[in-house]
């Protein structure tokens, strides 16, 4: 019996049609078997054709494109590692890479808040469903609406400055999106605000999966609430933390939409990210090969980071005990 993929329940026993012909014969041995194979592939055809055209082909050849110079109009010209050499000397590349890596700072904050929130709303009380829905609302809202909304909130005469000035916490309006030192963090806060509900749900699912017995046993042994959280719940939650942290780190490295809507990469490149540079090079300047090289660097950073987080967080879950 083959191992069910991805830890999923095994298919029900006796599932699947039995090939016509003698039992145990490979399904292709008879004409009926061949027809069955054809039918299966017919079902799969639309999905496979679309995935091949719009996922596998562009990723594989897009990676190869990083070794070419290509502007769509004239045929691609092989330049070897030329694009990467140019990248190394390109100061906008280093600015963009620095900002994308700095954007990772949002991950621990976002995950910490989401875990805390999930622990708080992991209960059945009146109104808790409404609270969860309220936290999830920004997740289903368009990034464009969110971006425009926060652009207004961050405005010199916007609500945030109004409150800060009223409370005497600031002497003059803070230029949230216009000062190079703050803009990136102001955009990060929007990522936090929009993503909180999503990760909360991932952690809620993780918490549901933890049998209550562990925490109860620890309580009987005299562990306090903080100790139970630190020694029991969080280690058991580690698979969810791994999943959420990896997802959130990947999207932080690739951040683009928030930046595009709110700051356009400015002021003076303070929020210019790798994805933004790739976007500009590919669809603005039509430097497709150079853009592909940027994409490959971003992919390498992403893959390296995912491997690191797997290293750090792979232990845990129920295997912890």
């Amino acid at each position: 019996m083959e191992r069910p993929p991805l830890g999923l329940p095994a298919p029900p026993a006796g599932q699947g049609p039995h090939p016509a012909g003698s039992p145990g014969a490979p399904p292709s041995a008879s004409p009926a078997g061949r027809r069955r194979i054809l039918t299966a592939y017919l079902f799969l055809l639309p999905a496979l054709a679309l995935l091949a055209t719009f996922t596998f082909y562009p990723v594989i050849f897009g990676t190869a494109l990083s070794l070419f110079e290509y502007n769509i109009i004239s045929p691609p010209r092989f330049v070897g590692l030329g694009n990467f050499r140019r990248l190394a000397a390109d100061r906008y590349f280093w600015i963009a890479l620095g900002n994308s890596v700095r954007y990772l700072a949002v991950v621990p904050v976002l995950q910490g808040c989401a875990i805390l929130l999930a622990l708080w709303v992991h209960r059945s009380a009146r109104g808790i469903g409404w609270l969860r829905a309220a936290y999830y609302l920004p997740v289903v809202t368009s990034i464009v609406v969110v971006g425009i909304l926060w652009r207004w909130l961050y405005d010199d005469a916007g609500l945030i400055n109004f409150v800060l000035l009223r409370l005497g916490l600031a002497r003059g309006p803070i230029h949230w999106l216009a000062s190079p030192g703050i803009a990136l963090y102001a955009v990060m806060f929007v990522t936090l605000w929009k993503g909180l509900g999503y990760y909360m749900v991932i952690y809620l699912v993780g918490l549901e999966a933890i049998p209550p017995g562990y925490a109860e046993a620890a309580a009987i042994d005299g562990a306090g609430a903080l100790q139970r959280l630190w020694r029991v719940t969080l280690p058991l939650l580690r698979p969810s933390i791994l999943l959420a942290a990896t997802l959130s780190a990947i999207s932080a490295l690739r951040v683009f939409e928030e930046v595009y809507v709110m700051t356009g990469g400015g002021p003076v490149y303070a929020t210019y990210t790798m994805f933004y540079y790739m976007f500009d090079q590919a669809f603005g300047a039509l430097h497709m090969g150079y853009a592909a090289a940027l994409g490959v660097v971003l992919a390498v950073v992403t893959i390296g980071l995912s491997m690191l987080s797997f290293r750090l967080l792979r232990e845990g879950g129920l295997s912890y005990y």
Binding site: P11, P12, G14, G16, P17, P19, P27, S28, R36, I37, T39, A40, Y41, F43, L44, P46, A47, L48, L50, F54, F56, Y57, P58, V59, G62, L65, W120, W130, L131, A133, A134, Y135, L137, V140, T141, S142, I143, V144, V145, I148, L149, W150, W152, L153, A157, G158, L159, W193, V201, V205, S240, R254, F275, A282, F283, A291, A292, G295, V296, L298
Partner: protein, 278 residues
């Protein structure tokens, strides 16, 4: 002593609820403020002090943005792209999930792993060549260019495969004894049984297509084809001074997703659950 600690616990619980309530205000308040702004007859969104209850409230901004700006057009574009996108994604997933769950054929597991494994691919590298492909097909600046690249959803195929797996073999055997062919079996027996999964997928894809921004921004060139996400940003650039109009447009864009979400929360959360387990 005992009652003291009980009191303490009550206070802690109250503080927790206060914190949760405050956070809920933090996530919902900007929407209330947006709505209030869209209903105001004078002033801009950035004004001291902020106005939360406009008096008198007016729908003039809605009428205004609908009449003087191509918002109706953007809305229709969004509805069209979202509608076709959902139908395509659901059909493609419903087809592909079936043999992966219930048929035995050479290459099945390899195909399944390739499909799921494609989630690990650096999709952003693919954006560049997808644009080139669509250009070669003379499809840049068409609606199809927006929805075709996302029509095969790995999540959708996975979701439907899981749904087909849960159907008891007896139902299938009975249908086979009655002489149903593979396509009839799928269409008349299996498809109705996975209807809840189809609904989950449709609802999740709804907010995905409705809100999709980056790809339409890349492949659409003429404003009359823009969906709301791209169009609203375009308008907010053109009419930066008229924030009340833009607020009305933002409300019109957001309202459908909020209504669908609040009405069908269960499905959204189920969708994430499956995503998280995956």
């Amino acid at each position: 002593m005992r009652s003291g600690s009980a009191r303490l616990r009550q206070v802690a619980a109250a503080a927790q609820y206060a914190g949760l309530g405050l956070l809920a205000v933090g996530t919902t308040f900007p929407f209330v403020w947006l709505l209030a702004t869209s209903l105001r007859s004078t002033g801009t969104v950035v004004s001291f002090p902020p106005v939360l209850i406009p008096h008198p409230p007016t729908l003039a901004n809605y009428a205004g943005i609908w009449a003087t700006m191509p918002l109706a057009r953007f809305f229709a574009n969004t509805v069209y792209i979202t509608g076709v996108g959902i139908v395509l994604t659901v059909v493609v997933s419903a087809l592909a999930g079936y043999p992966l769950a219930r048929m035995r054929f050479p290459g099945r597991d390899a195909i399944f792993y390739a499909i799921v494994g494609s989630l690990m691919l650096p999709q952003h590298v693919g954006l560049i060549l997808n644009f080139v492909t669509l250009m070669r097909l003379h499809m840049v600046d068409t609606y199809a260019a927006v929805y075709l690249p996302s029509a095969a959803s790995v999540f959708g195929i996975f979701l439907l495969r899981q749904a087909y797996l849960t159907i008891p073999a007896e139902i299938e055997d009975a249908a086979r004894i009655d002489g149903a062919g593979e396509f009839r079996l799928w269409g008349q027996i299996m498809l109705p049984l996975v209807a809840p999964a189809l609904a989950t997928l449709a609802i999740i894809e709804f907010s995905g297509y409705w809100n999709s921004f980056l790809w339409p921004l890349i492949v659409l060139k003429s404003p009359e084809k823009f969906p709301l996400a791209v169009g609203l940003l375009y308008l907010s650039g053109l009419f930066a001074y008229n924030t009340r109009y833009i607020a009305a447009g933002a409300v019109l864009m957001t309202l459908p997703t909020i209504v669908v979400f609040l009405a069908l929360q269960r499905y959204f959360l189920r969708g994430i659950t499956i995503g998280a387990v995956k």
